[in-house]
């Protein structure tokens, strides 16, 4: 047998309009880096904020245009075997997720940009590399250093997130995973206050994240060994072609790849990082992560589950069912014991991830659309909730302990009222987006999941009842208790933060009362291209 000559180079077909949103976001991130390099310090914050928001809005417009350019792109059809080797799939779920990510990203960035009258963003340290409490730190704060790098970092993360549900092969998925994760590791460590906690969070997130990436990569290798290709189309075909043996490779590979993705959504037992990172990271970053990372990762899980490994679902679905049940139960039960607002929201986000997984397991188009709706509904609510957390202060730092929120309804009825409304949304009370979202995933699960789906939904309902206690307790503290401490104050947010919180809350309300247009959009966007 002689050496096979490498196939002739075949130029990739690229539909530039279809990938324009991605190009805009990544391009803006690069421009942001150049701004950091060449623009005087005092003007950076404003310019960076402008670039970020403008590029995201532009990207949203581009996404609207890209809906006319759906299909596979960034690759070619192999002439001899007629395999479709495309790296990106611009389809309904991908564009829906991109649009949601871009809009939630705008809100996230507006909250990150909050200055409260200072030179730079209030939430971020003056110099991330200095030792907490060291003279260097004090000097850099005095010198008016700012970490406006957070804006390009966030844009890179958003770009990676947009890529995540769009990629059509395992290697691309891995790259997207890394592109979205690496900036988040850095952002987590940049908190201005309680910096040791923040750095610990960053390191923990990085180490565990790297670990899960390794799992993902190992799974990719095994799946490649099984199918001889990393493209989802080939993978799906290889599974349905029953003459292929080597099921051990398939099952192990699928598990490992899922581990990598479930880590990102914070599903139990891969959730251990969530409370620590959510607590330690700067609060605006936490809100951004909770909304966008989760959305992007669920987009990727959907594509993997419905396009790549759909034909092998019976091999892995039992494992994911167990994960979903554990996630709901652990998230709900552990949130009961929390005394810190950010940790409470972290465990609540775990429980919500479990509810979304119930929708993923419905295995049909309604499952897809319910998941799409859920992550958007949850994302806008959680960004607003973390935005509110940034406003409540004691001695300059954020007052995240629950006892510090006592009696807030008396002193600051608007802030407390908004928070209470968002809590009701997380609890899934009707006339909030949380209820419609929960209904959507539960209905999908019962509708197509059969007996298993019904059992999952019953467990979900029980867990919802448990989490209601948690959210109601926050309301009890805010409205039914006397303030424990007079020194807790609420800062007056800038226009940007106010806008972000208001929009998040309004969408939470609107999706609860008139959800049909977004449901309709999610329905129409629930078809994957193969």
């Amino acid at each position: 047998m002689t050496a096979v000559a490498p196939a002739a180079f075949q130029q990739a077909n690229i539909d530039y309009l279809a990938v324009l949103p991605l190009l805009i976001v990544f391009g803006a991130a690069l421009v942001g880096v150049l701004v950091e390099a060449f623009v005087p310090r005092e003007r950076r914050h404003t310019i960076q904020l402008t670039i970020s928001v403008a590029s995201l809005v532009l990207a949203f417009v581009a996404i609207l245009f890209a809906t006319k350019h759906q299909g596979l792109t960034f690759g070619y059809t192999d002439g001899a075997t007629s395999r479709r080797l495309f790296a990106l799939a611009i389809d309904g779920p991908a564009l829906f997720m991109q649009g949601a990510l871009v809009l939630m990203g705008v809100l996230g960035i507006l909250i990150m940009a909050e200055r409260f009258g200072g030179v730079g963003s209030d939430a971020f340290t003056a110099s991330g590399a200095s030792t907490p409490g060291s003279p260097i730190e004090a000097a850099s704060a005095r010198a008016g250093l700012i970490t406006s790098e957070v804006f390009p970092l966030t844009l890179f993360a958003i770009g990676g997130m947009m890529l995540f549900p769009t990629v059509n092969d395992l290697i691309g998925m891995f790259i997207a995973l890394e592109v979205l994760s690496l900036p988040l590791y850095i952002l987590s460590g940049l908190a201005r206050r309680r910096r040791l906690l923040s750095q610990e969070a960053s390191l923990k997130y990085f180490l565990l994240g790297a670990f899960s990436s390794a799992f993902f990569l190992f799974g990719t290798a095994l799946l490649y060994g099984y199918a001889g290709s990393v493209y989802f189309g080939d993978l799906s075909k290889a599974v349905s072609d029953t003459s292929l043996g080597l099921n051990g490779l398939l099952v192990a590979g699928a598990f490992l790849v899922f581990v990598g993705l479930l880590f990102k959504v914070g599903a139990v037992p891969f959730h251990a990082w969530t409370p620590d990172v959510y607590q330690g990271a700067p609060t605006p970053v936490t809100g951004f992560m909770a909304a966008c990372t989760k959305a992007a990762a669920f987009g990727a899980i959907l594509r993997l589950a419905y396009v790549g490994l759909d034909t092998a679902s019976w091999q892995w679905q039992n494992a994911v069912i167990i994960v979903a049940v554990l996630t709901m139960i652990v998230g709900a039960v552990l949130s009961v014991t929390q005394t810190d607002m950010k940790r409470l929201l972290a465990y609540s986000s775990i429980a919500h991830a479990g509810f979304v997984l119930v929708g993923v397991l419905a295995f049909d188009q309604r499952g897809v659309s319910s998941v799409l709706f859920y992550v958007v509904a949850y994302g806008f609510s959680i960004i607003a909730a973390f935005g509110l957390v940034t406003l409540v202060r004691q001695d300059g730092g954020e007052a995240t302990h629950l006892s510090q929120w006592a009696g807030l309804g008396k002193s600051h009825p608007v802030i407390a009222g908004t928070m209470a409304f968002l809590m009701l949304a997380f609890a899934g009370i009707p006339l909030t987006s949380g209820f419609v979202a929960k209904f959507a995933v539960f209905a999908a699960a019962i509708g197509t999941g059969g007996a298993t789906g019904t059992v999952l939904v019953v467990i979900g309902a029980v867990c919802s009842a448990i989490t209601v206690f948690v959210y109601a307790r926050v309301i009890v503290l805010m409205f039914f208790s006397e303030p424990a401490d007079d020194t807790v104050e609420v800062l007056v947010p800038s226009v940007g933060t106010t806008f972000a919180i208001a929009i998040g809350t309004l969408i939470t309300f609107a999706l609860g009362v008139v959800p049909s247009s977004l449901l309709d959009l999610a329905d129409r966007a629930s078809q994957f291209v193969r």
Binding site: M1, T2, F9, Q11, L34, A37, F38
Partner: protein, 120 residues
Amino acid sequence: MSAPYVPVLFMLALGFGFAALSVFTSLVVGPKRYNRAKLEAYECGIQPTPQAAGGGRVPIKYYLTAMLFIVFDIESVFLYPFAVAFNKLGLFALVEMVLFILTVFVAYAYVWRRGGLDWD
């Protein structure tokens, strides 16, 4: 049966042979003057101090340099195959490559302007 792998095996053997030969040659012809530093388990020619200079902290400069090295290393990793197949790839690949290099240069500019290349 595995004709394509014969050259690889040959290459492997050559590599091992060269390494073994070098070690053997230095063993035979090299001067032997032992001192404390040379007898350390981790031998780098410097006798280690109980604490690193600067109060036990390893200066971050090394890491920065190493990271920058990796960045440019990766760049050349991509440049090699491109250079080999440059003729076949045509204009499209050239543009792609220029864009890639530009992107790396953006990072380079950032590092340069923000003092990443200053040793002190």
